[in-house]
């Protein structure tokens, strides 16, 4: 049996958090019992991020990977926005202020530009190889 103080964060299935995470202050409280705060946004961001990574590692289609990248970027964006929102924090607690939003906008901009370039590369790759399978894109391997 685990002591609550030792393992406060329980996954929904009842599995305990790994002991190491318990030391991180963010996870000190149970998110399912807490009111909506930064932690929940972070969880969504982490989910998005993890989904993006999964997408990038599992998809063989280049377009799929691009979408995974978008997911990763947006997961990060959520974190920025969450950290800069004064509504989600206690009164007087330090925030990033508008900086978070600005960075998020900047990331969106970058994502658009990146998508444009990446799509161009993909199109070119398709023209040359008649496929968008990234596993086939190993011409420069060592």
């Amino acid at each position: 049996m685990m002591d609550f103080a030792v393992a406060p964060f329980m996954l929904p299935s009842g599995l305990p958090m790994p002991g190491c995470l318990a030391t991180v202050p963010l996870f000190a409280a149970n998110p399912f019992t807490e009111p909506v705060g930064v932690i929940h946004y972070l969880i969504v961001g982490a989910v998005l991020f993890t989904a993006g990574i999964a997408c990038m590692t599992l998809k063989r289609n280049a377009l799929g990977i691009l979408m995974g990248i978008e997911l990763v970027l947006n997961g990060a964006n959520i974190n920025f926005v969450a950290f800069s929102s004064s509504y989600l924090r206690a009164e007087g607690a330090p925030t990033l202020g508008l900086d978070g939003q600005v960075v998020a906008l900047f990331v969106i901009l970058l994502a658009a530009a990146e998508a444009a370039v990446a799509l161009a590369i993909t199109l070119n790759f398709y023209n040359n190889h008649a496929t968008v399978d990234v596993d086939r894109a190993d011409d420069l391997k060592g």
């Binding site: 991180v24 202050p25 990574i53 599992l58 990234v134 596993d135 190993d138 420069l140 391997k141 060592g142």
Partner: protein, 839 residues
């Protein structure tokens, strides 16, 4: 073209033509005709061209300076005047010296006084009489170097003697070129040299060297003419060495024969010994006088640089010999320094003081030794080149060369160069130097003549005869017979080259040099025997005493005898010189006719040789005839006074006709004036002596070798020790071998032993050590340093090879790595820095 530019042009071209031939043969040699046969044509054409040019020069000289008889009485008077070194006396003498031929040259020379060259005939009219400067032309073609007082140049000094020597040399050379093109024809094909024994017992087989022979001959002619035309002693020295090297080439023509290569080296080395003395003489002259030019030179600024002749016999002293200012100051260097130091505040006054005192110092005798050393030094070179005692040993060995070479180089011209230079340099020689020369000549003529008595090799007899005759010339010069010596030089050149060519013809026919195998060849070789008889008669000075008619040798030898007799009368203590000359004349007659009788008269001694004997081809006979004609007439004086003797007389150096007093080295003696020897009683005594001695010699030879009254073998056994002594050539070679050659060889062996045993060992040891150190360094370099560098490189390379496997090109894999890597980093960080997270 006036004479003063015409003569250098003609003679210069005559001088350079053989050089052109040499260059052509040098580069085109074997391609000239078949087997280089054309080389003979090229060389002969060049020397004929030289002869023609020399002849033109001769004619233009004679046209300009008519050769006339010398009037004796006039000269005796002048000679006496010049004996006193009193300038006033000499100039007084000039006032009434107006009748002899020298005035003709002055008058003609005056026309050219405004010309560009330096014409001594002009401008010296005041010297007057016979003592004045001889007609001569001099100048420089090309300056090799000029800096400070030193001026080395290629220039000319042309006087009657030069012109005559040019004609003589080119004529003899022409004859010999023609003769050699026949004599050397064996060389046109491959040759088996039977005198060279190879290690395998066979004989040497080699290609012919026809063109090379003519190449060396051309170079020799160029060098010899260079000596004759040279305008300064430095140029003489250059060409002196050039004839030396030509002689070396030609003596060593059959260089595969050990004897020939040894003889060539011997000639060259012995000559170097003499040249060492010559260098000392040159340095003495150069150091004290600062010039080596014979004649005065007028610079572009009109400044006259006095030459050697003017310095030693200045017009101001009436051309009497004195010690030049330069030598006085050189010898009195300490006094000069003292005077200059005492006038340190006013250097100009000091210099003036020195100039003022030179006269006193001269009277005190400063510089006399220096002048003597200069003269004897130059004479040293002449001893070597003219094969005088004690350096005559090379000449007989030089007969290893082909016979035309012996005729041209080793009898007629090159060996005469020493006599020529002594004659040319005559004004500078002091009476004491002259006496040394006379004694050297006497020793030479006597020793060589005695050796010639018993020699059996036909060419060696002639070689010793040459040495002996050269001794005659030197003796003549030494006793004051300037004209006699040079006259004999010219006549001897003709008959000696004739004799050599005849001997060559005999050798060509008999294929042996040994006179004991010859005999009775007169019938087989009528032309050769006849011309050789002429040569023999000429060399013994055959003539009719009271009619004064004879072959060329008669005149020249008579004048030598007369001068020696006069010298002996003036200086009874030196009368041995006259006996040497008279005795030498008898020996000459004996050995020359011994040679002729053994070769041509009597019955054949070796039938094998006799059967094969035949007359030589016309190309070899014509030169014999031409030379024999000259051997007869060369001494004659035509009714108008035209003759070689009078022409040489034109070139007599200023002031040398008179008597001179000597006594620096020896007790006091007089060198008598040469024209005094023409006095009737002297002349008749000399002629009779010459005739008597020559006749005795010939009769003795006939008695021994023709009539058989005195068998030669009996004489030989009667004086066996003497015979052995002479047959071994006075043991000169052995003495030199013992005294010089062996010590030199010993020392060189010692030195080379030291070199090989100690110095080389040491150097080899050092080298061995250095090699070992270097080997160790190389090992360090290869193993350690290279190993480090190479292993770094290979490690990097291996890492690269391994790491490139990570670069799979699988994009998804990369993402996986990134993700997992990030997680791993966090996990690790969490594990490692738990406390900081725990905050």
């Amino acid at each position: 073209m006036d004479i003063e530019s015409l003569l250098p042009t003609l003679l210069g071209l005559a001088w350079l033509l053989p050089l052109a031939s040499f260059v052509v043969i040098l580069f085109a040699g074997p391609r000239l005709g078949s087997h280089g046969k054309g080389a003979a044509g090229v060389a002969t054409a060049a020397i004929v061209g030289s002869f023609v040019l020399s002849l033109f020069a001769f004619i233009s000289w004679v046209a300009q300076h008519p050769v006339r008889a010398v009037e004796h009485g006039e000269h005796a008077e002048h000679g006496a005047a010049h004996a006193s070194a009193d300038p006033a006396h000499a100039s007084a003498d000039a006032a009434h010296g107006s009748t002899d031929h020298a005035d003709a040259s002055h008058a003609s020379g005056a026309d050219h006084a405004a010309g560009h060259g330096t014409t001594h005939a002009a401008g010296h009219g005041e010297a007057g009489g016979h003592g004045g400067l001889p007609a001569s032309y001099s100048g420089d073609w090309y300056t090799l170097y000029e800096g400070g007082r030193l001026k080395l140049s290629i220039g000319w000094y042309v006087d009657a003697l030069t012109v005559l020597m040019f004609v003589m040399i080119t004529f003899i050379a022409t004859c010999i070129h023609v003769y050699a093109s026949g004599y050397m024809h064996d060389e046109l094909h491959d040759i088996t040299d039977h005198e060279v024994h190879l290690a395998d017992g066979g004989h040497l087989h080699r290609p012919g060297r026809f063109h090379r022979f003519f190449q060396a001959l051309s170079l020799f002619c160029f060098s010899m003419l260079g000596i004759v035309i040279a305008g300064n002693l430095a140029m003489v020295f250059i060409f002196w060495e050039l004839v030396g090297i030509c002689s070396w080439f030609l003596i060593g023509f059959y260089y595969e024969r050990k004897s020939a290569s040894n003889a060539a080296n011997k000639a060259f080395i012995v000559n170097r010994i003499g040249d060492f003395g010559m260098l000392i003489g040159l340095m003495a002259l150069w150091g004290a006088l600062g010039t080596l030019h014979f004649a005065d030179a007028t610079g572009p600024d009109g400044h006259v640089r006095p030459g050697l002749f003017t310095l030693v016999r200045p017009p101001v002293a009436g051309h009497a010999q004195w010690v030049p200012d330069g030598m006085v100051k050189f010898a009195a260097a300490e006094k000069v320094e003292r005077v200059l130091l005492s006038h340190a505040d006013d250097p100009r006054a000091g210099v003036e003081q020195v100039e003022a005192k030179v006269e006193d110092w001269r009277d005190e005798g400063y510089g006399r030794w220096l002048l003597l050393v200069a003269g004897l030094g130059i004479f040293c070179g002449c001893i070597g080149k003219s094969a005088q005692f004690p350096l005559f040993v090379w000449l007989p060995d030089a007969m290893e060369g082909p016979t035309p070479v012996s005729a041209l180089v080793h009898s007629a011209t090159m060996v005469a160069a020493g006599v020529y230079l002594t004659g040319r340099f005559y004004p500078v020689l002091t009476p004491d130097a002259l006496l040394v020369i006379a004694y050297v000549g006497a020793m030479t003529l006597f020793i060589a003549a005695t050796i010639a008595l018993v020699a059996n090799d036909i060419k060696r007899v002639l070689a010793y005869s040459t040495v002996s005759q050269l001794g005659y010339m030197m003796l003549a010069l030494g006793v004051g017979g300037w004209l006699a010596g040079l006259f004999h030089l010219v006549t001897h050149a003709f008959f000696k080259s004739l004799l050599f060519l005849c001997s060559g013809s005999v050798i060509h026919a008999c294929h042996t040099n040994d006179m004991r195998k010859m005999g009775g060849l007169a019938k087989a070789m009528p032309w050769t025997s006849g011309t050789m008889l002429v040569g023999c008669l000429a060399i013994i000075g055959a003539g009719v005493p009271f009619l004064d008619i004879g072959l060329s040798g008669y005149y020249s030898k008579d004048s030598i005898l007369a001068q020696a007799l006069l010298f002996a009368r003036e200086n009874p203590s030196h009368s041995i010189l006259f006996y040497a000359v008279a005795g030498g004349a008898m020996l000459t007659a004996f050995y020359m006719f011994r040679l002729w009788f053994m070769t041509f008269a009597g019955r054949p001694r070796d039938h094998h040789v006799h059967e094969h004997a035949h007359e030589s081809p016309p190309v070899m006979v014509y030169p014999l005839v031409a030379l024999s004609i000259l051997a007869v007439i060369a001494g004659w004086t035509l009714p108008g006074g035209f003759g070689i003797a009078n022409m040489i007389e034109q070139a007599r150096p200023a002031g040398t006709g008179g008597l001179e007093l000597g006594g620096l080295l020896f007790s006091a003696f007089t060198v008598p004036a040469e024209h005094s020897s023409h006095a009737h009683d002297i002349h008749v005594t000399a002629s009779l002596t010459a005739f008597a001695t020559a006749a005795t010699g010939v009769l003795l030879a006939a008695a021994m070798y023709v009539w058989g009254i005195i068998p030669p073998a009996m004489v030989a056994s009667a004086v066996k020790p003497l015979y052995t002594f002479l047959a071994n050539r006075w043991y000169f070679d052995e003495i030199y071998r013992f005294l010089f050659v062996l010590p030199v060889l010993g020392i060189s062996r010692l030195v080379s032993g030291t070199d090989k045993g100690i110095i080389d060992r040491f150097i080899e040891g050092v080298a061995w050590g250095a090699k070992q150190v270097a080997g160790f360094d190389a090992w360090i370099d290869r193993t350690l340093i290279d190993g480090l560098v190479n292993s770094t490189a290979s490690a990097t390379y291996g890492a690269g090879i391994e790491l490139k496997k990570l670069q799979t090109g699988q994009l998804r894999q990369y993402v996986m790595f990134i993700a997992l890597g990030t997680v791993a980093i966090f996990v690790l960080a969490g594990l490692l820095f738990r406390s900081s997270f725990a905050g």
